[in-house]
């Protein structure tokens, strides 16, 4: 069956929400992210700010140098989340096959709903109009026979764009040919460099390349993958049920940190945060991962299996601690991160010989759940470890509300 996939991407989402809610910011360069005088990066830049060359992931200090008159705002996750939910609800009116990619973009499989809402282009237009009238925000959409092309298309006429990719293979090839290879999903610096060295800059040049030659430049596997994309072939499904595959948290130090105890304390907080999310999604983790970024950006990761799979803070902290302990701190640390993967649901399959092991794990798991419940009702300040760094920050007022009766 012929598929029709939409990719809908909100335009400068965070800053658009800010400009919508604060009319005085409209028409002004707005940056959401870390403050201009501190370490950290830009999360989003308004189109006015982008004219100064500011883009997301750029250090805020650099953004400030490029445009000192820009308004720097801290991210307000709650309002963005609310807008995101509103938009998601609009998608759901058109099709149940929605795959959210992030807070501000999603794939929609509208194959088969054409008889209700019209062709792909008409559906995209209705979605865009509905978003504008109900949220006062603009979105760009791509309409195509598959996910790869739809995502590429939504980015072509931003902001407030609508691009329809033709259906015939010849027209698709012609549509892709003039584009840079960096537009292909998964082609980053590492893949691009050898390709460009071989004189391949556009997707058209890639199409002209035979698989054997490409395999000698890259690997046989990525050659095949890349060629298929170059011809606009992609049969991935729109995955409605997005199962979480990993959970991680990171912390960037305001100043590079050489204090082992402080790194350890921050890591413990990160492990607690990971544990909370793990339990919220009723999962157990089978693998723990530590990430350290040294001063000067070199990053290492170290991992170890968790046997049996766990979800309590105590086991996660012990794993994090052990990974850190095994890693000599050769340089000041810029960033520390902790994550888990190999997530499974339900109790572990492998039974334990020693009754005590299971009892201890059960007890730690129950205790972690109780901590979650207290923090849910009374905020993070409601209960925390004495060694927690979160302890150092003044408690936020809104966290001190009483539980709903």
């Amino acid at each position: 069956m012929e598929r029709t996939i939409l990719h809908v991407d909100m335009d400068a989402f965070f800053t658009s929400v800010e400009q919508r809610d604060r009319p005085e910011l409209r028409g002004q360069p707005v940056v959401v992210g870390a403050p201009a005088d501190q370490r950290g990066v830009v999360a989003a830049a308004s189109y006015e700010a982008r004219q100064f060359g500011i883009h997301s992931a750029m250090p805020s200090r650099e953004a400030y140098q490029r445009c000192p008159q820009a308004v720097f705002l801290p991210p307000d996750g709650k309002r963005y989340m609310a807008a995101s939910r509103q938009i998601r609800a609009i998608f759901d009116r058109f099709t149940p096959h929605v795959e959210p990619l992030s807070i501000d973009e999603a794939f929609l499989d509208v194959s088969g709903v054409e008889h209700l809402f019209g062709r792909g282009e008409a559906i995209a237009r209705q979605i865009k109009d509905t978003i504008r009238s109900e949220t006062e925000l603009t979105a760009s959409a791509g309409v195509a026979p598959n996910k790869f092309l739809a995502k590429l298309a939504s980015d072509m006429e931003k902001p407030d764009g609508l691009t329809v990719v033709p259906r015939s293979p010849e027209a698709i090839a012609a549509f892709l040919a003039p584009l840079s290879i960096s537009r292909i999903w998964g082609v980053g610096k590492v893949t691009r460099r050898p390709l460009e060295a071989a004189g391949i800059h556009t997707i058209g040049q890639l199409q002209a390349c035979n698989e054997v030659r490409l395999a000698s430049i890259l690997t046989p596997r990525s050659a095949r993958h890349l060629l298929r994309l170059a011809w606009g072939e992609d049969d991935r499904e729109v995955e409605t049920e997005h199962e979480e595959k990993s959970i991680s948290h990171e912390h960037t130090f305001t100043h590079d940190c050489s204090d082992y105890d402080e790194i350890r304390a921050v890591l413990a907080d990160l492990a607690d945060n990971v544990g909370r999310r793990l339990r919220a999604s009723s999962k157990q983790a089978g693998l723990a991962r530590l990430k350290l970024r040294w001063e000067g950006f070199k990053t290492i990761t170290r991992q170890r299996p968790l046997m049996p799979a766990v979800c309590d803070n105590f086991s996660l902290r012990a794993a994090a601690d052990q990974l850190l302990e095994n890693e000599p701190l050769i340089k000041p640390v810029r960033l520390v991160g902790f994550g888990v993967s190999t997530l499974t649901s339900g109790p572990p399959d492998q039974l334990s010989l020693f009754e005590d092991d299971r009892t201890l794990l059960d007890r730690n798991e129950r205790l972690s759940h109780v901590i979650d419940a207290i923090q849910r009702d009374f905020g993070r300040a409601g209960i925390h470890r004495g060694s927690s760094r979160q302890n150092m920050a003044p408690p936020e007022q809104e966290h001190l509300r009483r539980p709903a009766q």
Binding site: Q322, Q350, L351, L353, F354
Partner: protein, 364 residues
């Protein structure tokens, strides 16, 4: 120091001691082997501060003394040298000149004074066993030890000298292996110790088929003396869990199975293992055992083994690795599998003082 020694003798001694040398170490001296020349023999020593190995070998000592040389490099050089006598002369700056046939090397060493002190093989009591017997005991248990560093007391093999017996146990909390061997020692010499897995592996590698092994223990260290070799190690401190409580007193069913047949069946079905599907299903029916495995994304595998069995039909799932480990380390033709139900521990026995307990996997 100046010595002369046949290549083969030096190589053998270096190979006996070099495993403990750390490749990545912050202390350069730990990459070196200590060479001490005494009357008519040399003594080679390596250490990683936890474990040390010493090996003595006959040599012509032209001038006594001691030095330390990079162990792995020296070993690779000696391996490539022609089969002839090697002459090593060390000056007072610890630079060694190595002559062998037409080959010549000059190797920078470090002073023996930098080498950490090695504790002597001594202790109040001595436990004497046959080298081969002790090695077999380790081989039948050590694989079951835990590698999870958060459970450090399980990162080794438990040795209990009691009632004129040595009981050796290893467990990772999911399966447990136990062997026993008769040893004579005075009642006041009864002792429990936890031997790090690293040393167990080193002993399996170095112990001979026969000959006497003498074990000493003192101040939380243990020393193994056999032939010309002495291995000394720190012990793991802590209380070993009460392993007796997890050994089922009695199981409901007992089945004799050919070891090799079951081993190869398990190896074959486990070829369809995936990250999500790790359980091998064992179904004991009338005179046959079916070993099977199903992985949703891969497919399935099934093996049927004839057995003598007329008991109730039993279905149980195990991690196949946990069954393969003991089976491949035993030599018996026939083993006994004892089971009660799908959630109770299973037991593997054979006609030697060996016992293996493993917990099943819960499958829906």
């Amino acid at each position: 120091m100046k010595i002369e020694i046949p290549k083969s003798a030096l190589l053998e001694a270096l190979q006996a001691v070099q495993n403990v040398v750390s490749i990545r170490t912050t202390l350069p001296i730990l990459s070196n082997v200590l060479i001490q020349a005494e009357k008519g023999r040399i003594c080679l020593t390596t250490t990683d501060l936890d474990v040390s190995i010493q090996c003595r070998v006959d040599a012509k000592v032209l001038k006594g003394g001691a030095t330390t040389l990079p162990a792995r490099r020296l070993s690779s050089i000696v391996r490539e040298l022609p089969s002839a006598d090697i002459e090593i002369e060390v000056d007072d700056k610890d630079t060694a000149q190595v002559h062998c046939g037409s080959s010549f090397y000059k190797i920078m060493g470090l002073s023996e004074e930098e080498f950490p002190p090695i504790s002597k093989a001594e202790g109040k009591f001595c436990y004497t066993l046959d080298q081969g017997a002790f090695r077999e005991m380790l081989r039948k248990t050590a694989y079951a030890a835990s590698t999870d560093e958060t459970r450090f007391v399980l990162n080794g093999v438990f040795l209990s000298f009691k009632d004129n017996k040595l009981v050796m146990v290893a467990t990772d909390g999911r399966r447990l292996a136990l062997v026993e061997h008769e040893v004579e020692f005075p009642a006041e010499a009864e002792v429990d110790l936890i031997l790090p897995s690293k040393v167990a592996a080193e002993l399996v590698h170095t112990l001979g088929d026969n000959g006497e092994l003498r074990i000493f223990t003192k101040d939380n260290r243990v020393m193994f003396e056999f032939g010309e070799v002495v291995i000394s190690s720190k012990l793991i401190e802590g209380t070993y869990p009460n392993y007796r409580q997890v050994i089922p007193a009695q199981c409901e069913e007992r089945v004799a199975v050919e070891r090799e047949t079951l081993l190869s069946a398990l190896k074959r079905v486990s070829l369809v293992t995936t990250e999500k599907a790790t359980a091998a299903h064992l179904t004991f029916g009338k005179n046959q055992l079916v070993v099977s495995m199903t992985a949703p994304d891969v497919g399935e595998a099934r093996e049927t083994i004839p057995i003598k069995y007329t008991g109730k039909e039993l279905h149980v799932a195990f991690n196949p690795e946990y069954m393969i480990d003991p089976l491949k380390n035993l030599n018996n033709d026939e083993i006994y599998v004892e089971l009660t139900d799908d959630l109770s521990p299973g037991v593997i026995k054979c006609d030697i003082p060996f016992l293996y307990v493993l917990m099943p996997m819960r499958v829906s």
